[in-house]
Point group: C2
């Protein structure tokens, strides 16, 4: 037709975390690709414990270590339990898949909702923590945390819109550096009798709470934020190299050990150096300064921490689309998202995630301590669900030696359930209420969508037999603004599709209308021209009304809209908007076929005529 | 066809500032509708002067009054000059229209660019000032200015997306209250020997600059921000009730007098009470506290000020679309914007404006003093241009007594030109460079767009004569995912448009493909079915490739895409995305007609079959 080389049809599809390293991850690689979120939570976990305890005075912070030990114990149980999850669900999918398989619809909706909420919170929390750690090194940024966060978010969004190809290799270095850094802080720090340098400005703590069970529970639930992210490995077993299950299990254990070491090490150091929260610096930054002084090592460490946290935030941009595609396949999100490999599609998810995270950050003004109470609850819901699912699984299958396994899972489930309740209750006022509100709303949304899709399918398959197609005479209406080559091609196309063709033009000035009539008469293409005058500055609605009338007369109508297609994509925004507007309005009418005729404009094209 | 009541076709079109009060404004109404931007600038204008002077020590602030007098004089000249602009250009349009008529293409581009930049800055500056004044009453907000600003911006955006119908009446009360408030502060304050109450915390000023001409120039240019917005009346003469010109001129004078009174009054008060900048409060808030104490009157005043500033920010949301439609009519912006009355269209403008303002606010972290240096420059470019235009106008027409008029305009032009240069140079380092960068870029953009449109028009009208349309045999390809009523209707429509119809289906699983074949055979509609298997999770690209091949075989192809149209709009997001995706990709191919067939789904509809 037009002598143009066909456009490239297979643009490089971005590879997501869910696909990036498909069938390629080693244990170490898995740790890099899947654990940043979990590992970086040591930056805010221990700090959260101290912050909670200090409400009962500085002396109360001595309880930090025991609480950390409890949390480490919980971590141990979770790791053991997740090794089983991995073995039982080698196809991954995490708590949502588990719940769907073994626990039924409602529970799976709960799992899905909590996962979505947590992915969003991971972005916000990691960015806020990153900003805080950056501000510890550069106090000038202290007054501009929100700006820093939003800038970081903008960068992440841009990168993910372009499509990221982050294989495990890319993440390996930052992950290793971060872990090494934290461990170095711990080791070096423990050898120091007292901190080399003290950063930040002292705070005065007025005792606002009594030291007691409630406070300890609060501190515990605050510390549980350190456990977020350890489920990621179980969600992504298919990404591992064979033997998948074994590798994934090893990775899970590795993560558990590393995480426990870091948390306990940091807490020991906090105890040894009698560290209390100080204005303008994170506790981890204080520990780093205590270990290395405030030289370049300190700056390097805080920068690495910030980078690691930014990458942790980035994981959600990769993981959420995977979950959304699962949900879409189950009719619980718009089908659109089931095609996450389609180039333009994943962008909606990215932008949506960015917007919600942005609102969250603005709402709490990038204050980490105001975000943390919302965090971790969803994670614990996931923990509990996947372990209950496991119990159900063992009890139904009953293989040899299933009893001890059930015991472990049941114990873990009970533990995490209790922890979850503690989290929800102790943090309810300070923000958990929001999660308790949003999660059910998400569940409602998912089930409404599911209901819609099923009802439509039923409606469409109501009749047993389908009729064979019978052609019906159709009128093609062609809206034109000018008499030019576009008009020529539009009429050619229209006459090729139907014998009954009418051209309509809407003009907001009288002389324009006259000019149009004259030109038309001069061309005389043998097609009727109807001229509508529209006093207001709107051309679309009069055309709509015109089409309405035609439909009202009982005609079968198709509207053919020529669209100028510039040779350079960058010019597309300059064309067709009016046509697309009309097309959009018409399509909602539900009675008119809208035909879009692309007209290439440019020398090459016009020559090839 | 389907027995459904046709949808309402004329949704209430939002009325913009540019149209809201069309042919209805009285002088007072005009003041309310068009001057909030100008009047509210007294909140930051005088403060900017003091802030500039205090760099040379507290004593230097004594120069505030003389500088304010100079600015008042400049204001006088501008008012006189704008009375002439109004008389000469009763159709409004402001500096852009003037430049287009009397000064040629390039100048008009400059005018347009500066106007656009200033509309955006008005939003950011007004919001930042509003946040500052709110924080003066509620110090707790002091650390969250950015959050406050972004919240305000979100509200404005939401309101404007819904479409505002703010007639002058709506704005009258806030405007009057604000003006009355400021004047009350001045009058009451001047009767006090010393401030009743002092708010904010004292600052220490270390002298960073010598007192001299440069400092005075800086202070002057800082104070010129108080003149922003006085051009708005001349831009909107058509909105006035007859006799338009006279009313508009009166309004301009009224504005000038009111503005001058407020500025000078505030400055006198600053002098009398020896007010210097204090931490956490605006100077206007200090004056208010000095006059009324910190009782409820103080809170009422600051709240009114905040409201007025928010409404001032809102004016841009109304004015920018008007300017953009002018530019679009001149081929200097996408034609889309010329139809600002089309319901969905104005939203793009609103969102774009909101986004840019958001970026600006984040970039300066909502610090007013970091935004002001960017402000006012564009305004002065506009001032100068419109007055030079006036000079040109008189010199060409030469009516009786044109000489004095030219004199005034020339004098005004010279003054504002000098002021503009002073502004640009003195503020260059502190931010004006940004404007100096963006304005030329906007000009470039506008002229590129203009060039594109003209080239397209030429390309389309190259051939003298047009051929009459000759039908060509067309193949209709129908992509289907299922064998159901959608398929039935799609085939009916396809066969009505062409005799050669092919159905194609892309399935990512083998058994799905088989099932499809079986159902097809059972239905046997007498149309060929091609099944494509797509291993990846993408269905769109294989279909593209299929269509590609058909086109490659030299066929004239139309692709008919059935779209499910749910009865409730809220469900639309759940359908058709895949189809629209395909349609979008196809349309960029420039060779295929894309036909969208809406299929209503819902009991009513299926019954009416």
């Amino acid at each position: 037709m037009l002598g143009l080389a066909p456009r490239k049809l297979h643009p490089k599809v971005p590879r997501f975390h869910g696909e990036g390293g498909k069938y390629r991850l080693t244990a170490a690689g898995g740790l890099a690709a899947l654990s940043l979120d979990a590992l970086t939570s040591v930056v805010y976990g221990p700090e959260a414990i101290v912050l909670a305890l200090v409400a009962a005075g500085v002396s109360a912070t001595s309880a930090t270590l025991p609480i950390a030990l409890v949390i480490a114990g919980l971590l141990g149980v979770l790791v053991i339990s997740y090794r089983q999850v991995i073995a039982v669900h080698p196809n991954g999918g995490g708590s949502y898949a588990v719940a769907k398989e073994d626990l039924g619809r409602r529970t799976s909706l709960l799992a899905a909702a909590s996962l979505v909420v947590d992915y969003i919170l991971t972005v916000a929390v990691s960015l806020a923590a990153g900003a805080a750690s950056l501000a510890s090194a550069f106090p000038a940024l202290g007054d501009h945390l929100l700006a820093v966060c939003l800038t970081g978010l903008a960068v992440l969004t841009a990168v993910n819109l372009r499509g990221i190809a982050d294989s495990a290799r890319v993440l390996m270095a930052p992950m290793a550096l971060f872990a090494a850094g934290v461990l170095a802080v711990v080791v070096v720090g423990l050898f120091r009798s007292h901190p080399v340098a003290v950063v930040g400005t002292a705070q005065t703590f007025h005792i606002s709470e009594a030291f007691g069970v409630l406070l300890l529970l609060k501190a515990f639930s605050a510390g549980c934020t350190a456990l977020t992210g350890i489920e990621a490995i179980a969600n992504a077993v298919p990404m591992f190299r064979e033997p998948r299950v074994r590798r994934a299990q090893h990775t899970e254990v590795l993560l558990g050990v590393l995480l426990a070491t870091m948390v306990l090490g940091l807490v020991l150091l906090i105890r040894r150096h009698h560290v209390v929260p100080r204005e303008g610096v994170t506790i981890v930054a204080q520990l780093a300064a205590g270990a290395f002084g405030t030289g370049w090592v300190y700056y390097a460490f805080t920068l690495i921490t910030t980078l690691a946290l930014a990458l942790a935030a980035n994981t959600s941009f990769g993981s959420l689309p995977v979950l959304m595609s699962l949900l879409a396949k189950d009719n619980r999100l718009p089908h659109l998202f089931s095609l996450r490999a389609e180039r333009p599609v994943h962008r909606f998810g990215v932008v949506a995630l960015a917007l919600v995270a942005c609102v969250l950050l603005v709402a709490v003004d990038a204050q980490l301590h105001r975000l943390l109470p919302l965090f971790a609850i969803g994670v614990f819901v996931g923990f509990t669900i996947s372990q209950i699912g496991l119990v159900r699984y063992w009890k139904t299958r009953r293989p040899d030696g299933w009893v001890p396994r059930v015991a472990v899972s049941a114990f873990g489930a009970a533990l995490t359930a209790v922890a979850g309740v503690v989290l929800l209750t102790t943090k309810f006022v300070s923000g958990a209420w929001f999660v308790a509100l949003v999660v059910p709303l998400c569940m409602l949304l998912f089930s409404r969508i599911e209901h819609y899709y099923t009802s439509v399918t039923n409606a469409l398959n109501r009749r047993r037999t389908l009729r064979p197609p019978v052609p019906v005479p159709t009128t093609v209406i062609v809206p034109l603004g000018e008499v030019d080559e576009i008009a020529e091609r539009a009429l050619t196309a229209a006459c090729s599709l139907a014998s009954d063709v009418v051209v309509v033009t809407a003009q907001d000035e009288q002389q324009k209308a006259e000019a149009m009539r004259e030109k038309w008469a001069r061309w005389n293409p043998g097609v009727r021209l109807d001229v509508i005058s529209s006093p207001e500055h709107t051309l679309v609605r009069p055309l709509m009304a015109y089409v309405e009338r035609a439909v009202g007369d009982g005609k079968h109508v198709a509207v053919l809209i020529p669209q100028v297609e510039p040779q350079h994509r960058r010019y597309r925004v300059l064309e067709n908007q009016r046509g697309l507007l009309l097309a959009g309005l018409l399509s909602t009418r539900g009675q008119v076929i809208v035909c879009l005729l692309p007209v290439r404009v440019g020398p090459a094209d016009l020559v090839s005529e």
